[in-house]
């Protein structure tokens, strides 16, 4: 996959800018808050329709402007995303798309950002978002199933609050139906998640080892909130607790995963360097997974992380990417990137939302 050009309009600091992109390597330099991350954020949004660093579209739209717009073209597709206070609209090849879900993931993008360390150490919510990558990039039916699950979960939680006694809840027909449907949906999602994490784990271990070479063998372990048997029964057994807490305590909305070395949580004793390598290895595993199961080589965005890697890790990262991978790097200083990695590339020097381009072949 290759992005040929990118246009930002009213995106954060940018009034309007159009960039012609290098097929292999694009490096964006500039001081902080000049707009280099915004370029990567824009590409990310063309894939995921949301930002990797904020949930507020308002923050992204340039001040006093009615909307923000990103457009990009690959060799055979064009993508457009418009954000306004009324919401988001998207276009694929110039045509409107009814549902965002028909647009999400069509452009294949994997980002490495400083926030990735939070993925491993932060709240489980972040890891559940990561799990949804499977639906975004490969299994569209999973996206539908997740949305069905959310509806059923909301209904079940409301029903728990509507029925006044535990006894009545136990005998409530509607509650039983919702429980049964929620269990069925949870089972479907859990099976898929388990498969996804197994596929990812088998790729993660060798990638980590080749970068770190420290004898550790990280593997991913799925930590679902339910066991892999009679799902409806588990939900029924939880009814007392659900009634008293007025919410559904079990289900895929409480899922998590951990990364282990043998049987122990990898992140407990890992050094900062090991954590950083692990975060990179996990994303590289995702890239490898996308290549095999989505049959596509994704765009790789390296936001402010490349410069923090020593020469060995920089090389290791790049050797794991296919030669035809299109890479986007932001850094404060071009010198932080090893010279041997800078042969054919475009350099975008960014200052206050203004861009100067030099291309080296």
């Amino acid at each position: 996959m290759q992005l040929k050009d990118l246009t930002l309009k009213h995106m954060r600091i940018y009034e309007e800018v159009s960039l012609t992109l290098h097929p292999r390597l694009n490096v964006f330099t500039g001081n902080n808050a000049q707009g280099k991350t915004t370029v990567l954020e824009s590409i990310y949004m063309l894939s995921y329709t949301r930002s990797h660093r904020t949930t507020s579209d308002k923050e992204i739209i340039q001040q006093a402007k009615p909307f923000a717009k990103v457009t990009g073209t690959t060799t055979n597709q064009s993508y457009e995303l418009v954000m306004s206070p009324a919401g988001k609209t998207v276009k694929l090849n110039g045509g409107s798309v009814d549902k965002l879900s028909a647009f999400v993931g069509d452009l294949s993008v994997v980002m490495f950002a400083p926030e990735d360390l939070d993925l491993l150490k932060g709240p489980p919510k972040l890891r559940r978002q990561f799990l949804n990558m499977q639906g975004t990039h490969q299994d569209r039916s999973l996206m539908g199933e997740l949305s069905r699950y959310q509806t059923l979960l909301k209904d079940r939680n409301h029903r728990i609050k509507q029925v006044s006694t535990l006894e009545a809840l136990k005998n409530d027909g509607l509650f039983q139906i919702l429980t049964q449907r929620l269990a069925y949906s949870a089972e479907t999602i859990m099976m898929k998640r388990k498969q996804f994490l197994t596929q990812l784990s088998t790729r993660l271990t060798p990638i980590y080892q080749s970068i770190a070479n420290d004898g550790l063998t990280p593997t991913i372990q799925y930590v679902p909130s339910m066991n892999f048997y009679d799902y409806a029964e588990q939900l029924r057994d939880s009814i007392d607790r659900d009634f008293h807490t007025k919410t559904t305590n079990l289900g895929i909305h409480r899922d998590d995963f951990v990364i282990n070395h043998i049987t122990e949580d990898f992140t407990l004793h890992a050094s900062q360097g090991q954590m950083r390598t692990l975060a990179i290895a996990l994303k590289l595993a995702l890239v490898a997974w996308m290549k095999e199961f989505k049959k596509v080589i994704p765009l790789v965005l390296l936001d402010d992380v490349f410069s923090e890697l020593d020469a060995n890790r920089q090389n290791a990262l790049l050797t794991h990417l296919d030669a035809e991978t299109q890479v986007f790097i932001t850094t404060t200083d071009l010198n932080l990137i090893k010279r041997e990695n800078l042969e054919n590339y475009s350099h975008f020097s960014i200052n206050q939302g203004k861009v100067q381009v030099s291309t080296y072949e």
Binding site: D155, I177, L178, R181
Partner: protein
């Protein structure tokens, strides 16, 4: 500069209709004022006035009627053994337009959605029980939408009628998941009735 009060009021009324915004409401109101002759406007007002006075839900099936009981329920040539259960009044019209079904209907008045505040007691389920207990209905064809609420409602009906001597079937064939009955064309709907399957 503002329009006179009555004209503004009329616009406000139009704006309560889904899909009608400020501009459209203005166009409608001005059109009535300038293009309708006085007789037409009076007839329009009369019709609106009669709407609530004469039309109400049929106490048996929930469809609309200006009689004691609706036309479908009064029609003795219709098969009492088959009953199509739908969410909305307009779904009855959709099935009627296929001209192949000669049984009766039951309008639930919505679908179960606790998160939107719609519980079993908000739907015409008691009247459905009464009809089933009367004993003439042999097959209940559940034709709620294929939305989450519609599917939950279908399963709920199965749940409450499991001990009754009535066979529950679910239409399905050819209708897309998540789809709305009223968007289906006649051919698809006919196939959906033919391809219905047992729920037990």
């Amino acid at each position: 500069m503002k329009y006179p009060t009555v004209l503004n009021q009329l616009m406000e009324h139009f704006r309560k209709i889904p899909g009608v915004g400020q501009k459209t409401a203005e166009r409608y109101a001005l059109h009535i004022l300038t293009h309708f002759d006085p007789e037409t406007t009076d007839a329009f007002a009369q019709t609106l006035h009669q709407l609530n006075a004469s039309i109400r839900p049929c106490p048996t099936c929930g469809f609309l009627t200006d009689q004691e009981v609706c036309d479908i329920c009064r029609d003795t040539t219709r098969d009492e053994a088959q009953l199509i259960v739908v969410e909305e009044v307009k779904d009855v019209i959709v099935f009627e337009n296929t001209h192949t079904f000669n049984g009766r209907y039951h309008v639930l008045g919505g679908a179960l959605s606790p998160s939107e505040g719609i519980a079993p007691e908000d739907l015409n389920i008691e009247s459905l029980k009464t009809r089933v207990q009367a004993g003439n209905i042999q097959e209940m064809i559940v034709a709620t939408n294929f939305s989450e609420a519609g599917e939950t409602t279908a399963l709920y009906l199965q749940h409450i009628f499991q001990d009754h001597p009535v066979e529950l079937t679910r239409i399905g064939y050819g209708l897309p998941a998540g789809g709305n009955i009223s968007y289906a064309d006649e051919i698809t709907l006919n196939k959906a009735i033919e391809g219905r399957r047992k729920m037990h």
